[in-house]
Every structure is written in structure tokens, then in C-alpha cells.
């Protein structure tokens, strides 16, 4: 076993997990507190990436562009909530799925109208564009390292916000018992708007951080949204802590599975078969994990208290 490779793959899994966490944190809050199934969460991820590409071009600085994009994503989320999603809270989940699916189509076309069908690129500053020498001679791309650092910082801030502030208290209360919160005279509409704005900003952050590695393009959030749903189911709907642990778990399993499964399978079956079967099996692993969790602990790993 090659330990340097294993360590590097752990970092890769961690980095993917962090991206998933940013998406899952918003999605789990929106689902847990507002009881809204928001399929268009991936579109907010896409909007974040497009905003970042545009603002980076305008300001000629990735950092400045990213900050502006973060604000724009939040604002976009708030507007979306006020205009479109507010009417959906009293509807059934099926209606919500239908409406937010429509929103995906709408936003994809919206982006096509404004930015065109060909994707965009976000040029990185030179500091972030290379790779760094870490301990034990491990080289790791600087930007992926930056994603990990930013992600951990955001997770910490979220923890402070949710556990140690008044608004966080309301959010937690909302996740545990919504009717009681509104019965106690809390302006639930405002709370919903804030939560949705926060979720949109987190999704936007994930999008703008994924963008320089991949490209900014229409529909970029749809694939990752599936995995994000897996994450919140594993973590427990409404729980940020659960989302964090589950995201890292899923990121790790996906990356390490992809990396080592072909070799492991190759020990038992013919190489040709292993080469073709391994990607298929490794992409199944996270769903297998979800199925196991659902079977033995249907409420997820860390369900919010009282739910």
C-alpha cells in the first residue's frame, strides 16, 4: 500500500466532502426548517459560479469577484424566495418537486439567455493555480487546499451562528418544531427568507469554489444535487452537524472507492472486467451506504432534537 497516495486521496475526498457540505448545509436547513423540497438548489450553485465568473471578469480579481458573487447569490436566493417559493410552503411535497423542477428549467434557460450556451472560465491568480509541497513530499493543488480551508472556516462560522446566536436558536427551534415556533409569535416568514438566503449563499459559495476546477456551465448543479440529497438523508434532515459528517463520509467513500476499487477488484476478477465494473460499482457505493443507513437508522446519523 502506498501511504502517500492514500493520504493524498484522503485530502481529495475531504475536499470533495467540503464542497458537498456547503451544498448540503443549505439544503438540509431549507428542507428541515421550511419543509420545502428544493430541487433548484443546484441551480443556486450554478448561479454562484456564473456570478463569480462575471464579477471576476469585471473586477479582474478572483477574491473580489468571489465576495461579490457571494452577496449576489444571497440576494438572488432572497428574491427567489419572495417571488416564487413563498407560495409553495402550504403545498404538498409533490407540488414543490414539480415547481422547483420547473425552476431548474427556467434558470437554465435564463442563464442561456444572459451568458450564452458556451460555458465560462474563471482564471485563478497564480498563487492558487499551481500545486504546493506539503509534508512528506506530498504535492497538492493550492486551490483545492484553499477550498478545504474555506470550507472548514465556514463550517465553524455556521456552528457559531447556529449554536450561539438568537437567530441560530430560532433556526434550531424551527428544525425541531415549526408550529411551536410560529405559535410563540416568531415572524416565521422572515425566518424563512433568512434561512433561504443563507442556503443560497452557501450553495453559491460551493459553486464559485467548484468553478475554477471544473467549468462554469448550464446545468452544472444537477449532478451534484443528487449526491447532496444522499448526504442530507445520511446526515439526518435538518441537522448541520449531520450534513458535515455525512458530506465528509460521502466525499471520502466516493474518492477512495474510485481510486482503489479497480486494483482491489483486479485481485479477484479479470483486469478487463475490473476496469469496466469498478467505476460503476464505486459510483454505487454512496447509495449503498444510504440504503444501509436508511435500514438501520432511518432518521439519519444526527437527526435534530425533537424531530
Amino acid at each position: 500500500m502506498n501511504w502517500i497516495l492514500l493520504l493524498e486521496q484522503t485530502l481529495n475526498g475531504f475536499q470533495f466532502g467540503i464542497l458537498l457540505f456547503l451544498l448540503a448545509a443549505g439544503l438540509t436547513l431549507i428542507f428541515g426548517i421550511m419543509d420545502l423540497i428544493n430541487l433548484a438548489h443546484g441551480s443556486l450553485y450554478m448561479m454562484g459560479a456564473y456570478f463569480a465568473a462575471t464579477f471576476t471578469q469585471w473586477t479582474d480579481s478572483f477574491l473580489l469577484g468571489a465576495m461579490l458573487a457571494l452577496l449576489a447569490s444571497m440576494l438572488f436566493g432572497v428574491i427567489l424566495e419572495v417571488i416564487a417559493l413563498r407560495t409553495l410552503y402550504t403545498r404538498s411535497h409533490l407540488d414543490q418537486v414539480l415547481a422547483t423542477f420547473g425552476l431548474i428549467l427556467f434558470l437554465n434557460e435564463f442563464v442561456r439567455l444572459i451568458w450564452g450556451p458556451i460555458g465560462l472560465d474563471i482564471p485563478l491568480p497564480d498563487v492558487l493555480n499551481g500545486s504546493l509541497e506539503l509534508f512528506f513530499g506530498i504535492r497538492y493543488p493550492a486551490f483545492r487546499l484553499a477550498i478545504i480551508v474555506v470550507g472548514i472556516a465556514v463550517a465553524f462560522l455556521l456552528y457559531l451562528l447556529v449554536s450561539h446566536t438568537k437567530i441560530g436558536m430560532l433556526i434550531r427551534a424551527g428544525a425541531s418544531n415549526r408550529q411551536m415556533v410560529s405559535a410563540l409569535g416568531v415572524n416565521i416568514n422572515l425566518l424563512y427568507t433568512i434561512v433561504f438566503g443563507l442556503g443560497a449563499a452557501l450553495a453559491g459559495l460551493a459553486g464559485l469554489m467548484a468553478a475554477p476546477i471544473m467549468t462554469v456551465e448550464i446545468g452544472m448543479g444537477e449532478g451534484i444535487l443528487m449526491i447532496t440529497f444522499v448526504v442530507i438523508v445520511i446526515g439526518g434532515v435538518g441537522s448541520i452537524r449531520g450534513a458535515f459528517v455525512a458530506a465528509l463520509l460521502v466525499g471520502f467513500i466516493d474518492t477512495v472507492g474510485r481510486s482503489f476499487l479497480p486494483d482491489i477488484l483486479g485481485l479477484f476478477v479479470s483486469n478487463d472486467f475490473a476496469d469496466t465494473a469498478a467505476p460503476a460499482i464505486s459510483s454505487m457505493l454512496i447509495y449503498v451506504l444510504m440504503a444501509i443507513i436508511l435500514a438501520i437508522r432511518p432518521q439519519g446519523l444526527f437527526p435534530p432534537k425533537g424531530a
Partner: protein, 390 residues
């Protein structure tokens, strides 16, 4: 009385309509027009329109009606659109097809059902071999050929240890099969990644760094190729391990990849600087009309229209004469971007393959230049499995 007159008139109009329709060549073109790969389909459509411009929008005396369909990069959608073209639109030719898995899913809805099928890009092994058909033609290549040429190039360069990466779908497997067929060194690592879902190659790049091969060969068409080149450079591998590719760098990605792809080597049947008279006119007019270099996808699509034109002219617009049109197409007697070539018994071109290198042209645009000819008049390895002869 009035009503009967009206009825008769509309019946007459319908009949006249029928007669007029019979003279029109109807061509269905299935490609990807939306999503990340939409740029490719757009390029192909632009090339088709340019070809029609060059033909004066007519094939001989016949009008041409093009029907573009978007497969949205999904085999099931591609098959549905294909069936619509055959059953509802009753087209005479079904063409296009970027993706091998879409083509394989759609094939049975066309061949044997009346229309000719012409692939403008995808060339999976089965349709060139056992599944070859008298009504199926290609104006591109068979998937294995381009990477077989790459294998030869790698041998000539003295590469011993090679690492291969490709997406896990029909074309990815053919491409890998092609390079393994001719490459004589060791294949020290191979990753087939999930397609099209996987866009982040961090795990595979870490493996490449740990194995440290002499060279890496990849096949990543469309947006995947752009991302691969970007991440390869971010991982610090660009200056360490030389990267060779097929169908990964094209005229769509080059303006965005720029220096990331500079000097990159690939094999291909065509390049914008190929010294044939048709390529010269095609590239010049394409750049004039659309302001960019055409991709190889565009060149193949241009040829598709010219091949159909040669068939329609040969039968003087009598579209019911399928045998006549088939005989004409088998002659490949049309002005092709690749110069003159012959069709093999399986209706796939027997053609040259070149080594191309990414350079900057005199205006500062990134394009490719042919370095040398790798294969002359090369026939695909599946032709011998095809029972057809003529």
C-alpha cells in the same frame, strides 16, 4: 355548395402539397444542442448551414429541408428524436450523432426502415463490423483508428510506461482498445471514469503522480477535455509528464485552454491546415461567416451534406431510387475536406491519420498544425467482421 368547393380546394391544395414535398430532400440531423456539449452540436449545425450555402440551398434541382434535433446528450432522448424523424417527418437521411452510445441506441430505428443513416462523428466498433448495413454510412472514422495512430506515435517517441484515462462508455472503450492495439510499451495504469457524471479527476491525477509514467494518454471529448487539461496543470503534472490526447483538444476548447494546451500533441484524420482545396475554402468561409476556426466535428458534418448532395444528384432527385443513391455514395465522388478517399466494404472511409500540434497562428489565435502523416489510407480493424461486399 360553397362547402363542397372549399373541400375540393383544400383537397387539391393537399395534393399539390404532396407533389411539392416529394421533390424536397428531407434530412434529419440529430446532435447535442443544449448543455455543456451544446457547443459541439452548434458547430456541426453551422457547418451544415455553410455546406448548404455553398450548394445554393439546393441539391441538383431539389430543395433541401433540414430538421435539427437535440439529443440532450442522452441515448434515450436521441432514440426518441430519431424515431420522430423516421416516422413523423419521414426524412430521407438521418444524420448527425456525436456520441457512440446515442448512435448505438438510435441505429435500429433507422436502418432497414427506409432512410439512409449517416454518422457525422460517432464510430463505435459494432456498426463498422458485425452490424454494418447497406444503408449505413460514415463521414468520420471508426473510433479505434485515431488512437491506433496515437499508439504508433508513442512507439516512435520511445515511450515505455503509459498511463491511460478515458470515460467509461462505448467510445471510451473503443479509444482505449485502439491505443492498446498498437502501443508496444507497458500500460502502467488505466482509469475508466464515470461518464458523463465525473468531472473532477483529483483521485486519478493523484494516482498518475504516484505511478509517475513516461506519458499520459487521454480521450475526453467536449467539456470533459477542458476540465482535464485544467486540472492536470493545477495538479502540477503539466511540466512533469507529457500529455497526449485524441478528440480532447478541439477548436472549441482551444480559445479557452490557450497556453494550457500549447504544444499538445494529438492524432486526427483532419486539421484546419490540411492542404486540400475543399478544406481551404471550407475553413476560410467558415471563419468568415462565424468568426472562429471550425472543429473536426464541423468538417465531418460538412462532408455529410456533400455526400448526400452527390447521391441526390446521381439519381437526378429521384429519391425513391435508393440503389442508385447507395451506389453513388459508395463511390465517395464528392469534394471532401480530406481530399479524395475510398469507402471500405463497411461504408467507413479508408483515410489518412495525422499527428497535430497546438500552435498560435499569425493573428495570435490558437489552432493546430499537422506535424506528420502517421497512417496512409488506413482501414479500421472491424471491416473484416463486416459481411457486406460490393
Amino acid at each position: 355548395m360553397k362547402l363542397r368547393l372549399l373541400g375540393a380546394l383544400s383537397l387539391g391544395a393537399m395534393l399539390i402539397g404532396q407533389v411539392a414535398l416529394a421533390d424536397t430532400v428531407k434530412i434529419g440531423f440529430v446532435t447535442t444542442l443544449t448543455g455543456g456539449a451544446g457547443a459541439i452540436g452548434n458547430d456541426m449545425r453551422d457547418a451544415v448551414e455553410l455546406a448548404l450555402d455553398h450548394l445554393g440551398r439546393k441539391m441538383g434541382a431539389s430543395d433541401v429541408e433540414m430538421i435539427y434535433e437535440d439529443d440532450t446528450f442522452k441515448p434515450d432522448v436521441g432514440k426518441q428524436k430519431t424515431e420522430k424523424l423516421v416516422k413523423k417527418d419521414k426524412v430521407h437521411f438521418v444524420t448527425g450523432y456525436i456520441w457512440s452510445h446515442v448512435l448505438l441506441a438510435s441505429r435500429n430505428s433507422v436502418v432497414g426502415k427506409g432512410p439512409f443513416m449517416i454518422t457525422s462523428n460517432a464510430g463505435p466498433g459494432p456498426v463498422a463490423g458485425k452490424l454494418c448495413h447497406k444503408d449505413f454510412f460514415s463521414t468520420s472514422w471508426q473510433n479505434d483508428q485515431t488512437t491506433m495512430a496515437m499508439g504508433e506515435v508513442l512507439n516512435q517517441l520511445g515511450i515505455k510506461d503509459l498511463y491511460i484515462m478515458a470515460p467509461n462508455y462505448a467510445a471510451g472503450k473503443s479509444m482505449v482498445a485502439g491505443v492498446t492495439r498498437t502501443f508496444k510499451g507497458n500500460i502502467v495504469g488505466k482509469d475508466m471514469t464515470k461518464f458523463p457524471a465525473q468531472l473532477d479527476f483529483s483521485a486519478e491525477l493523484a494516482k498518475i503522480r504516484s505511478v509517475n509514467p513516461d506519458a499520459v494518454f487521454v480521450f475526453y471529448p467536449g467539456k470533459h477535455g477542458m476540465q482535464f487539461f485544467k486540472q492536470y496543470s493545477q495538479a502540477g503534472l503539466k511540466d512533469k509528464v507529457p500529455l497526449y490526447s485524441a478528440f480532447t483538444v478541439d477548436s472549441l476548447s482551444l480559445p479557452r485552454l490557450k497556453d494550457l494546451a500549447a504544444g499538445s500533441l494529438m492524432t486526427q484524420f483532419w486539421a484546419p491546415d490540411l492542404p486540400t482545396p475543399i478544406t481551404k475554402i471550407f475553413v476560410q468561409d467558415y471563419r468568415k461567416k462565424y468568426g472562429r476556426y471550425p472543429t473536426f466535428y464541423a468538417a465531418q458534418s460538412y462532408d455529410t451534406i456533400m455526400l448526400i448532395d452527390s447521391a441526390v444528384r446521381a439519381v437526378n432527385g429521384n429519391l425513391s431510387d435508393k440503389d442508385g443513391m447507395r451506389t453513388a455514395m459508395r463511390r465517395a465522388a464528392f469534394p471532401s475536406v480530406r481530399g479524395s478517399f475510398k469507402y471500405g466494404n463497411n461504408h467507413f472511409p479508408i483515410q489518412n491519420f495525422y499527428l497535430r500540434k497546438v500552435i498560435k497562428d499569425s493573428d495570435g489565435n490558437y489552432t493546430t498544425r499537422i506535424v506528420k502523416t502517421v497512417y496512409t489510407n488506413h482501414q479500421d480493424p472491424y471491416a473484416k467482421d463486416c459481411k457486406m461486399s460490393w
